[in-house]
């Protein structure tokens, strides 16, 4: 029943201006990809992006930190947008997420492909996990070493979703604009 109510929520993202480097050590940046909520409002597995963003932000906030959402339009690579988000984040920690749902936690002094935690199998990440990802990102931001969020593993995710994920990615490339700066996003749920 609770789920039925949640499905009514829609996510509205509007640009506030070019994202600046943060100074507040109590913030975590959530890097979103070019087509996030534009191309689709749900992941490959049909989880609503509104719910995902709300859960991640709640996870961050329950540790007493604040979330900033930044959209990267010039690059679709998750490792890259995650790392660049971390560099904009006052705490040096970010969460990166693509439209299809693939997510990671990144830190500013790492390299793109070496992150703190990676959740590569997008269709397996449930809302509870997205909240835990938010919480862990906040804990890293506080300088703690949390137990990593358990990684789900389903050998049948690739057979079912990989070709579809490639199609989505190709479609999402239509939202790419190489000359556009990362934008600070205003988030509201209606």
């Amino acid at each position: 029943m609770a789920q039925a109510q949640q499905q009514e929520r829609t996510l509205v993202l509007s640009e506030k201006g070019v994202a600046e480097e943060g100074t507040d050590t109590d913030e975590v940046v959530i890097s979103i990809s070019a087509g996030f909520n534009e191309m689709k409002d749900e992941t490959l597995a049909g989880v609503k992006l509104a719910e995902i963003l709300r859960e991640m932000m709640a996870g961050i906030e329950e540790e007493g930190l604040t979330a900033r959402v930044v959209r990267f339009t010039d690059n679709l690579d998750l490792g890259v947008i995650g790392l660049r988000g971390a560099k904009l984040s006052g705490s040096g920690i970010s969460i990166g997420i693509q439209t299809r749902g693939t997510t990671l936690i990144h830190q500013e002094d790492l390299v793109p492909l070496s992150n703190l935690e990676l959740f590569p199998q997008a269709p397996l990440i449930d809302l509870e996990t997205y909240r835990a990802i938010g919480k862990n990102a906040a804990l890293y931001a506080k300088g703690e070493t949390p137990e990593p969020v358990p990684v789900a593993n389903d050998p049948m995710a690739r057979p079912k979703y990989q070709a579809l994920a490639a199609l989505w990615h190709i479609k999402e490339m239509g939202y790419k604009d190489e000359d556009k700066d990362p934008m600070e996003m205003e988030v509201s749920f209606e």
């Binding site: 492909l113 070496s114 070493t145 593993n153 690739r158 979703y161 490339m173």
Partner: protein
């Protein structure tokens, strides 16, 4: 209930609402329940490269050589070359032979590939002087049975082999050590690990190395993680080879990874300078996965990857779809294409670890059919990742064959009298080796002051099928130890000493053998492996070249190896009745 034209409900006499759903065939309903309907299939979309072979956008083969330099290739002048074209033209193609090779009719070369009267070395002379478009054009003439025949002749090392994955969803070190020992016993020449949490890699690599050297001295191990970490683990002797150095068929994908063919070559030289075996990884679908396939076919782009590898001077390549396998297999002729890319790798005179790696289907029949070309022909590594653990523990997100298939895979080798690179083992021996491996890791952890591995964990690891049978262990604590291990510069020689001091002399000897192998450097020759009997004799394309030329030649499964393969642990012995 029916409606009349003026929307007034009238009785239809049945007293029930009429079902509006169309009546369905029970046959089709039953077919809808089959596993294969869960797989992703996509119709071809050549404009973006969603096509396995022969895209209308693939270039026609061509070459112009002036003063020993390639000035035009596959329809592009040198000024128009992207960095991949330039790298291939300058480093991958034997210019002396290029004009002759390119002038030879593609269909004739294809016929020579399956002609037992034409020796491998004659073909390699030409195929190492061909452009990517030419290599694809040649292989496009073959059907799947012909690709199998060609692979049988063209692979570089005569003795086929196999590689496996040993991973744990919990990154549990005792379990990994025990599974690596068992995998080595089962006959794999190479064992590959990766992690759930990146920072665990030093510990899982260490556990895997100890386990492998417990199982059979000379089985080499790798840990697939971020490239700099992977190299460092190798340099320290925690691993014995590397494989996950990726190359791509379009410039954009290279650039997205902040890489060029030159930077990959530099990384490769890092391994070579330390005497470490390494191969590259590519495979159909990776460019498309990034949306950067430029409308070219998967096979043409893969031909470029193969020649980038060749140009880097790297001895071998892992391909055949690999981590993007469900992309080629979603389109027509995708499974044929992955066999074709294995073949082109062999034609470039490189070692091939031929895929049959990550999962691509829910169907047991499709996954078995997919591996038949490599299995029947034999390749350097038929699987470049047979999961030696249950797929739920496979951190490459599952392999097409896993530990549940051990008996079936052995029996397929027995049925067809084919060397598939694994062998039957008995339960008592497996338990004995698993225990020794887990205890060795327990001792090493204790000596190093790492989070203790309890006797309960050792016991669980000995008897475990997978991580679900293991007690809880703190990953956060292990990560601290892993960080400490990297900071303090722990290396393989120190592990050898600890093992020897704690009653594990044989494992210590074997690990020392691996470290010495790097000094000798013989196993970095093309298709090099250690025999795996503790003597550290190298078998490679140099001392075991493939001389297949039809019946009576090449590798045959016979003698002791065949006798061993005949064993089925639940077979009936006529003498018992």
């Amino acid at each position: 209930m029916c409606m009349t034209d003026d929307d007034k409900p009238v009785a239809d006499g049945s007293g029930e609402l009429e079902e509006t759903a169309p009546k369905r065939s029970k046959r089709f309903e039953a077919l809808d329940e089959r596993a294969v309907t869960e797989d992703g299939f996509v119709n071809e979309w050549p404009e973006v490269g969603f096509v396995a072979m022969e895209s209308p956008n693939d270039p026609d083969p061509s070459i112009t050589v002036e003063d020993g330099k390639i000035v035009e290739m596959d329809g592009k002048d040198r000024e128009e070359f992207d960095f991949i074209d330039r790298f291939i033209a300058d480093y991958a193609i034997n210019v002396d032979k290029a004009e002759e090779a390119m002038a030879t009719d593609s269909e004739q070369v294809a016929r020579d590939l399956v002609d037992i009267n034409v020796p491998r070395e004659d073909i390699v002379e030409l195929t190492t002087a061909m452009t990517p478009a030419k290599l694809s054009a040649v292989v496009n003439h073959l059907d799947t049975a012909e690709i199998i025949m060609a692979m049988k002749k063209m692979r570089t090392r005569q003795t086929p082999g196999n590689q496996c994955h040993v991973t744990s969803v919990e990154d549990n070190v005792a379990q990994i050590a025990a599974d690596a020992a068992e995998a080595a016993l089962r006959g794999f020449y190479e064992i590959e690990n990766t992690v759930g949490v990146a920072r665990m890699a030093p510990l899982t690599a260490l556990a895997q190395q100890i386990g492998a050297q417990c199982g059979r001295g000379g089985v080499i191990t790798q840990c697939a993680v971020e490239e700099a970490t992977e190299l460092e683990l190798g340099m320290r002797g925690m691993t014995g080879y590397a494989e996950t150095v990726s190359v791509y068929g379009t410039e954009d994908v290279f650039k997205d990874g902040d890489d060029t063919p030159w930077s990959k070559a530099f990384l490769a030289s890092g391994y070579a300078s330390r005497g470490l075996k390494m191969r590259y990884t590519s495979g159909a679908g990776s460019e498309l996965n990034m949306g950067q396939a430029e409308g070219k076919s998967m096979l043409y782009l893969e031909s470029r990857c193969i020649l980038v590898t060749k140009g880097c001077g790297v001895q071998g390549l892992q391909n055949g779809g690999i981590s993007c396998i469900a992309i080629p297999t979603s389109v027509p002729a995708g499974v044929k294409e992955v066999a074709a890319e294995n073949l082109i790798t062999m034609m470039a005179d490189l070692e091939v670890a031929s895929g049959n790696d990550q999962t691509f289907t829910h169907s047991d029949k499709r996954r078995t059919a997919r591996m038949m070309p490599q299995f029947l022909a034999g390749t350097d590594f038929i699987f470049s990742g047979y999961s030696a653990v249950p797929n739920y523990d496979n951190m490459f997100a599952g392999s097409t064959f896993d530990s549940y298939d051990f008996d079936e895979y052995n029996i397929m080798q027995r049925d067809l009298q084919v060397e598939g690179g694994t062998k039957p083992v008995d339960e008592d021996t497996v338990l004995e080796y698993r225990e020794r491996a887990a205890k060795a890791v327990q001792s090493v952890f204790e000596e190093l002051g790492f989070p203790p591995i309890s006797d309960e964990e050792v016991e669980a690891a000995v008897y475990a099928n997978g991580s679900k049978d293991m007690p809880e262990r703190s990953t956060a604590e292990d990560i601290k130890a892993a960080e400490e291990m990297m900071e303090e510069g722990l290396n393989g020689a120190e592990i050898v000493k600890i093992l020897a001091d704690n009653g594990f002399e044989e494992i210590a000897e074997n690990l020392l053998g691996i470290l010495k192998g790097r000094v000798a450097g013989d196993y970095i020759q093309t298709s090099g492996i250690f025999q795996g009997d503790g003597d550290f004799d190298v078998v490679s394309a140099v001392n075991d070249p493939n001389d297949y030329q039809g019946p009576g030649t090449g590798h045959r499964l016979e003698g002791e190896d065949w006798e061993e393969k005949k064993q089925v642990r639940f077979a009936v012995d006529p003498e018992d009745i």
